[in-house]
Amino acid sequence: MDILSLFVIVPVLTILILGFTKGLKQARIVSMVGSIIQLGMSINLIFAYFKERKINEEIMVFTKDYVWFEQFNIHYAIGVDGISVALLLLTSIVVLAGVFISWKTDDLPKEFFISLLVLSTGVYGFFISIDLFTMFVFYEIAVIPMYLLIGIWGSGPKEYSAMKLTLMLMGASAVLLVGVLGIYFNSNADGGALTFNILEIAQVNIPFEAQKLFFPLTFIGFAVLGALFPFHTWSPDGHASAPTAVSMLHAGVLMKLGGYGVFRVAMFLLPAGAMHWDWFFIILAATGVIYGAFGALKQTDLKYINAYSSVSHLGMVLFALLMLNKTAWNGALMQSLSHGFMTALFFALIGMIYGRTHTRDITKLGGLLKVIPFISAIYVIAGLASLGLPGFSGFVAEMNIFVGAFQNEGMFYRIATILSVSAIVVTAVYILRVVGIMLMGQVKNKEYLELQDATWYETTGILLLLIPIIGMGVAPLWLSDMLLESIQPFIQGVL
């Protein structure tokens, strides 16, 4: 069995075993073990990748290719490069953290963990597959469990939010499907068989008319998942209603599928289309960046604040991807990673605070630093990381994006860049607003004085997420070089 398919097989096995478990204790133990194995595998994969990379010059390494539907030339084709390796690591960490955070799921625990793992299976599969069809399959597998996860274990207007989220994302994937088919039927421009294989399609040059037609479909199809303005509205409601671990996985990992897909499919396969449309989508993305930041400024619900800040941060990702140069793309991918960790950490902390105080309204909270110092301190750190403080991952990513974006001549790009840069100030404002109101000041509610600080599993979850953030921020070189090296062939494809 090849080392990549394990990423799909192990969670599936975990799910099967979970099927036979009884009660919360068994369920969480099993899923924890499963996720730990996953984490081990992805760490191992990193090293394996570095070893392989020395001797292997291909774009993708560890490639495997099994014919699936011969008539359509559909293959189960997998392979990874530095980017997917990094994202796999992100996924496994967030999943494990998620399992820890949802340690005390009392309602239908088994089903909860199963859905969680189905989601992660989809994500893993998406990241390893290099065949558009399998990619699409895994994409939908990853999205659909959200409905149950939010609907059953959510809070507030959960039915509404779940339905909204699922329909918007599925609608997006519907648009995407047309794009994928379009690419497929233009994939033999130079003669030869139709194919879904990304690497093969990248070799042929798809006619410009087709690119012009299908780039927007593909881009939007993926970007909706990346909360592209104005298709972001599923995200605030969805996050607000979702249970903690789900918000973590969703914002931390699932939304990354958007950026990744745009990078792998839209940009890589339809570069001419990208060049043709970039102005339009840059406007959208830049708007999203500013808009999300300002949107977060007014909210009082912690999750809404975080959701809007995600809109802003991921807008940055799409923005950078559209800048079509190495540095910006590097930044985009780093931003994906760092946002993944940070926002997951945020949601985890929000979940803890909510679990203790039973409110997410910052105006009702106050002085938490006094009563739950550890959680609050971490929250401050996460906040600082998210406003792009040096020493944390956010800074590295954003600087790459800005420098990269600035490489593009032309007033339009410059203005867009400077607008997006200015978002860092607004970010600082809304982050510090929350910190100031919620963590500092006097304790508003006497009951809060009895609150307990983080338990061992919560602490574990937090540290799992915090360490990579700091690691990336303090020593970004290895990561950025790994990504740059993997971006190289893609950028050549574009130019």
Binding site: F69, E70, I74, Y147, M170, G171, V175, V178, L181, F185
Partner: protein
């Protein structure tokens, strides 16, 4: 012509024999033992289904009136499996009827004769055989729809079906007569030679098309569907929605890809329009439904619309995808109907609200229902996704990107109402949930087979390849 050339009619002969056997049994078995006929029927039909898989050689008899080939043969087997599952699922119900209201075995007899009609319909070589098959497949179902003689709804369903069916067959007969007028023959093979797109031919074709669309319940020939499904017994409804629809689709496909191929420049546009109408109308009506049978009726209308995406191509790819999809559709829909059947059998509840909190009392049924609905909605990794995806691919291969786009929009709409059911079962709570109950063996077996089908058909690719090469015969 020697006798063993009749062997290509093996399906028909066997089925006829079974029917007669049951008839005889009806006469000789005493009232008290009648219920054993159910087991007998299932047993016999099981054998029939199994035997059906034996290879059969491609030829035709009756001067070409009756023809068969591997694809037809394969499709008959698919129908057999469908009917077999259906029997398993409705066994308890019919047994109850026999014991409770001391009804006879007419259910089986009618069902089998209708199936017999379908055999003849899909392996017809001329319009006469086709017409007879059509009627033979329709009339018994009308009787079955009115099976519940004590229920007003049932009778109403019967009336509506028989009247609409009569109208439809009348119309299509008129169409056939026109075709006969222009081509001078009722044999498909002769017609292919001479058919040209004169106005009369087109008119004839449209009338004929309407007659068949009635069975597939394409908009605007679909009106009867919902009412009949709602009124008729669940088994009959599910029979209508999968078996008869599947057979009709199949024969329509054959005729359009062979006989009416020269008219493709006409009917591709026609199919385009009808497909859109069907998908949108079906989905928009399904949104509001509370009664599960009615709900599934409209969903099945929408599904028919999707099938047309394969029909529009007129290529081998189209044939393959259609057969593949119909097969998957049969399994998915049977699963859904099976769950509805099981629940209504135990509790008599058929509304969506009654399903609230079902998962917490009957997890397995809910899971089966979820799989079925996901398959119908086209969510991977269950089979439905592959079926739909390939249909879209087929349409896209002809460059109908707009149609595909609108189709996927419809997929999203349909996802909405499928999720409504899932919401009821998994998310909603209820003070009076359907209590836990255990199904009889037959029902469980029936559901089990469908689940296997839903899970395997999609992921197991050789099946599709097999169908694809079978499909070469019609192009």
């Amino acid at each position: 012509m020697n006798l063993d050339s009749f062997l290509i009619m093996r399906h028909e002969i066997l089925l006829l024999t079974i029917t007669l056997l049951l008839l005889v049994g009806e006469i000789f078995i005493s009232k008290s033992k009648k219920s054993s006929l159910v087991h007998l029927a299932i047993f016999l039909f099981g054998i029939h289904t199994a035997v059906g898989f034996l290879a059969i050689d491609e030829s035709s008899i009756f001067g070409g009136s009756f023809q068969t080939n591997n694809l037809i043969h394969f499709f008959k087997n698919v129908l057999n499996i469908g009917v077999f599952i259906l029997l398993l699922q409705s066994a308890d119900w019919i047994e109850e009827k026999i014991v409770g209201e001391n009804r006879g075995t007419e259910f089986f007899i009618l069902l089998f004769s209708s199936l017999l009609g379908m055999y003849f319909m899909i392996s017809a070589g001329d319009f006469l055989m086709f017409y007879i098959g059509l009627e033979l497949s329709t009339l018994p179902v009308a009787a079955l729809a009115a099976y519940e003689t004590t229920k007003r709804k049932s009778s109403e369903a019967g009336i509506k079906l028989i009247l609409s069916a009569a109208l439809a067959s009348g119309v299509s007969l008129f169409g056939i007569s026109l075709l006969y007028a222009t081509s001078g023959s009722i044999f498909f093979n002769d017609i292919i030679e001479v058919i040209t797109s004169t106005n009369l031919t087109i008119l004839g074709f449209i009338l004929f098309f309407a007659g068949l669309s009635f069975k597939i319940s394409l908009v605007p020939f679909h009106f009867w569907t919902a009412d009949v499904y709602e009124g008729a017994p669940i088994s009959v409804a599910s029979y209508l929605s999968v078996i008869s629809k599947g057979a009709a689709v199949f024969i329509l496909m054959i005729l359009m890809f062979t006989v009416f191929k020269p008219l493709i420049h006409i009917w591709e546009n026609m199919v385009y329009v009808v497909a859109l109408a069907t998908m949108f109308i079906g989905n928009l009506f399904a949104l509001r439904q509370q009664n599960m049978k009615r709900f599934l009726a409209f969903s099945s209308i929408a599904q028919a619309g999707f099938i047309l995406l394969g029909l529009i191509t007129g290529t081998q790819l189209g044939t393959a995808t259609i057969v593949y999809f119909v097969m998957i559709y049969i399994f998915s829909n049977l699963a859904a109907f099976g769950v509805v059947q099981a629940i209504s059998l135990k509790t008599g509840k058929e509304n969506m609200d009654d399903y609230n909190g079902l998962y917490r009392t009957n997890p397995n049924l809910s899971l089966i229902m979820m799989l079925a609905l996901f398959s119908l909605a086209g969510i991977p990794p269950v089979a439905g996704f592959f079926g739909k995806f390939f249909l879209f691919t087929a349409a896209a291969s002809k460059g109908y990107y707009m149609l595909v786009f609108l189709a996927v929009v419809n997929v999203t709409i349909s996802l909405y109402y499928y999720l409504l059911v899932i919401r009821a079962m998994f998310i909603r709570r209820s003070e009076t949930p359907i209590p836990f109950f255990k199904n009889k063996l037959y029902m469980r077996l029936g559901l089990f087979i469908t689940v296997i089908g839903i899970l395997v058909l999609g992921l197991y690719s050789p099946l599709y390849d097999y169908i694809y090469e079978l499909s070469s015969v019609f192009n």
